[in-house]
Symmetry: D2
Subunit: 298 residues, 4 copies
């Protein structure tokens, strides 16, 4: 059977680089996990093992370290610097995708004063940035992952389809809990202050989650995405993935007790998974910004 | 800013169902993890929280259990049964995607004879099946994940691009190790024997991995995918994701010792990640078979 | 061969209970993972399967939920309440160990004001409490886990033993990073304010980490443990486990660059693991407080 | 407050060494994860940071690689070689504990013949060995972890204590599933064939699991441990930790269906945890064989 090579990409994943910046005795930290994905004229390496067009993933790793030496800055900017390098420098590489995760650190305090070089990890929330660069343009996504939020009331779920397999009772008061993963696409690649843009978008989404009297997790997701687009002109599209982390009110009636939404079991599996994209009507084309990575669906 | 809802999908993820089949005193097991994803006319639930078009994820879970009662069979067939149900039964649901992971069990032996109802988990390799059903058609993917393979020789990596950031030396003999994730698309939805098809495709890929004198991991991947397409007429496209699990020969020279590829450190991160699709030239259209799940890129 | 039953214990592990407390419209959360371990007159259940002396683990789970209904309070107090119940109520149960993990939540802010019922997970640091209760007495441990800290300077490692297998160069300036796991034993079971005691002990340990110019990770650990004992009369013993999370300065010399401790690779494995106990000389006997759980060494 | 240093230990954890052995063109693999723990005269390193008595964990890692160069053999023997080295060579080190995990690989077949240098990971079951060496003696533990087994019938749980918090109904037929972790202590350190001893002990335990009509998980555990001691004179003590991985029969009555133990939900948390030790009455003293590692209870 004659066959053809289809979509393909390769790169070095999860380069764990920590950059210490020194301002006199006062240090600051950038703690990153960088993954690079290249594509281009790579037919031969697949069909014959001819590597003449291949930038080794080991070289990609070295490049991250060398670029880190020059300073990191906002991770969107760092991803763009790396992406431009790979897309521009090698004739065989048409497109580069650079994805960065950033782990946050807070300064320790001693006697009420911030310590110049001692830190603690500040939460498990992860900030992300993705830059995709090719001859046609550049695309930048900011994002966050593992932001776990919960409302202990102000959430309902009623009026759904019922069929022969439905046992769920409508709920007019339930816990709503999720771990927010979000990515948002920027109108361009020249936001003046990526850090301020990230902080504002994150804040808008969190406020929308809190404010929304939720009739469904989809509605909460949509409100969060819309808030970011409405509040930030540079944000033109938001995609979110939010598991419904079920908290079941425990039946205490066998023990002669009522449970007016006080005692819950936090369940692991199964869980609902809600995903959607919202975009501004005047958004520029997304190009390859959302191309799948990894290539295989989950 | 006027906004529009884009791609969206929802469902119950990771329903852990175990089905015991009894043939007299002799039992057999099917141990599955089922994830369902629905899409369709779901604008209102996002914008207003109106749930009239929503099949609750709790109902989806119940449906898995009820269908399991009728027996599982091959997981491709089980995924199709569930997918057809959701896509056909609810006017608001246009498309259903059902993804099944299967964990394998082996029968324990006592005094050299197979025991009728005692089992052990047989490996961490996972068999998968995905069915996507909508009004346009049906698509079936078989697959596997976490199949860890290694060649202790017969692997090279030379002739690559060198630039200012290259330190890697060419290797004419190295360990090649990876954890294979693969999905392959079937020509249709009526394979007579899904189990035999799966076993044969898996075997073809493993043999190709072993046979190929590897000049690059891409070449090994391509050989594996091509072997399945060439050997099985029902397989029309293969997509694979293979991390390069680096094994570094330890430098023993400080201890006055040579290390002719005998002692290796198995490293965790970073790792290479190689991904590609190969398809038969006469493959029917893939339709939504490879649509991203989750929606967000990693 | 005649055999005897040795150490044994059983119980329900990882009961994930979330308790919502309502003060008018203002809610607060306690999010716990509770594990119970009982021991006593349990010979028969092992040797003959006679369950007359067994409190089912399902009942243990129910008991957690019922006790949660009465309110949680500090987790040390909650662990004691549960431990006393199991140790006192059942003739066959001589000793109960209750271990509680608490996950912290912070209130979301909207328009600069704290929201009454919307929260986010505040960090991956875990607070723990363990109560062991038997006829001889009661023992309480407070603790924390997954507190990741780092010093970007102020750490050395020199003067160590060198032998034929040593290649490590002495370091007068290195990154010191670890994930602190600590447990500390209280003098009694009646601390008036467990929350204040926990906060103060944690603060003393963090300040000691920051203050100590570290000549070894052991020294930092010892300083942290001693600070808690010195600063808090109710703390009579501290045990700590601290992995040395290696950060290796990347060799940039192949690229013509110096790296004065600016660019590091955060390595995964192997890692150093440093463990020690420090106790006050007038500490009361530890009894079964530190008995192994799980029973098997790692 | 005057304080004293208590129990303490340190070492390099999780050295991931892969050793390729070559017999002509036919290769074989040993894939290990080695953790070393040393204790001794280590007061000064804790109290003053004086490292004169410290064998760096980096040196420990190097030693693993150097010893691997000489060949691995059975992991019990490899652990003993390393343990003896550390305990004997350094005046400041009184005791060494070496713990080895081994991952198994199976040879791939091509055209029905075993391939000389291509392998696949064979299961997620882990074989372990622990050697503890000091001036008083040597102790060897063999073990296994993550051996997942299940009986689909032949398991009951009845006759247990009932109290006000009991809702569990007695079960005369249920699924029994667990992930076996076991360690067994050898009478001495000179077993002629560690591999044969391991295989036989594992087989005895698996057969006992299958044979035992289980009235409680404790009974199954005890039968497994006793079978190994009875069947193997070199095995003098067995300790096991077995989670009760609950499989709940799904209530299908809302759908007009019976469920005679056919459809189960495999739950994640909470789970029962059953632990016990069984020893031969003439077992020699265990010495430090079971000393806790890590030092902190879970």
């Amino acid at each position: 059977m004659a066959t053809s090579l289809g979509a393909n990409q390769y790169g070095k994943a999860e380069v764990r680089v920590v950059r210490v910046h020194r301002d006199g005795d006062t240090h600051s930290l950038k703690d990153l996990n960088v993954s690079i994905t290249l594509s281009g004229d790579l037919e031969a390496v697949h069909t014959t093992g001819e590597n003449a067009n291949v930038v080794p993933t080991d070289t990609q790793k070295n490049t991250v370290y060398v670029f880190a030496k020059d300073g990191i800055g906002a991770i969107e900017a760092f991803a763009l610097r790396l992406g431009r390098h790979f897309a521009a420098r090698f004739a065989s590489i048409g497109r580069a995708r650079v994805h960065v995760e950033e782990y946050s650190w807070a300064r320790l305090e001693v006697d009420g004063s911030p310590h110049p070089h001692a830190f603690r990890r500040a939460g498990n929330e992860v900030r992300t940035a993705t830059a995709v660069c090719d001859a046609e343009g550049e695309w930048v996504l900011s994002g966050l992952a593992d932001l776990v939020v919960l409302k202990s009331t102000g959430s309902e779920f009623t009026g759904f389809i019922e069929d022969a397999y439905t046992t769920l009772a409508p709920a007019t008061d339930r816990i709503l809990a999720t771990a927010v993963s979000a990515r948002w696409r920027h109108a361009g690649n020249a936001t003046e202050d990526w850090d301020a843009s990230f902080a504002a978008s994150r804040e808008l989404m969190l406020e929308a989650f809190a404010r929304t009297h939720s009739l469904s997790l989809q509605q909460s997701l949509h409100a969060m995405a819309t808030a970011a687009i409405d509040g930030r002109p540079e944000v033109v599209e938001v995609r979110m993935s939010m598991p419904n982390k079920h908290h079941f009110a425990v039946d205490l009636s066998p023990f002669g007790l009522e449970n007016p939404n006080e005692v819950f079991h936090a369940d692991d599996r199964p869980y609902g998974l809600i995903e959607a994209a919202v975009q501004a009507d005047d958004a520029p084309a997304a190009g390859p910004a959302w191309d799948p990575y990894p290539l295989l669906p989950g």
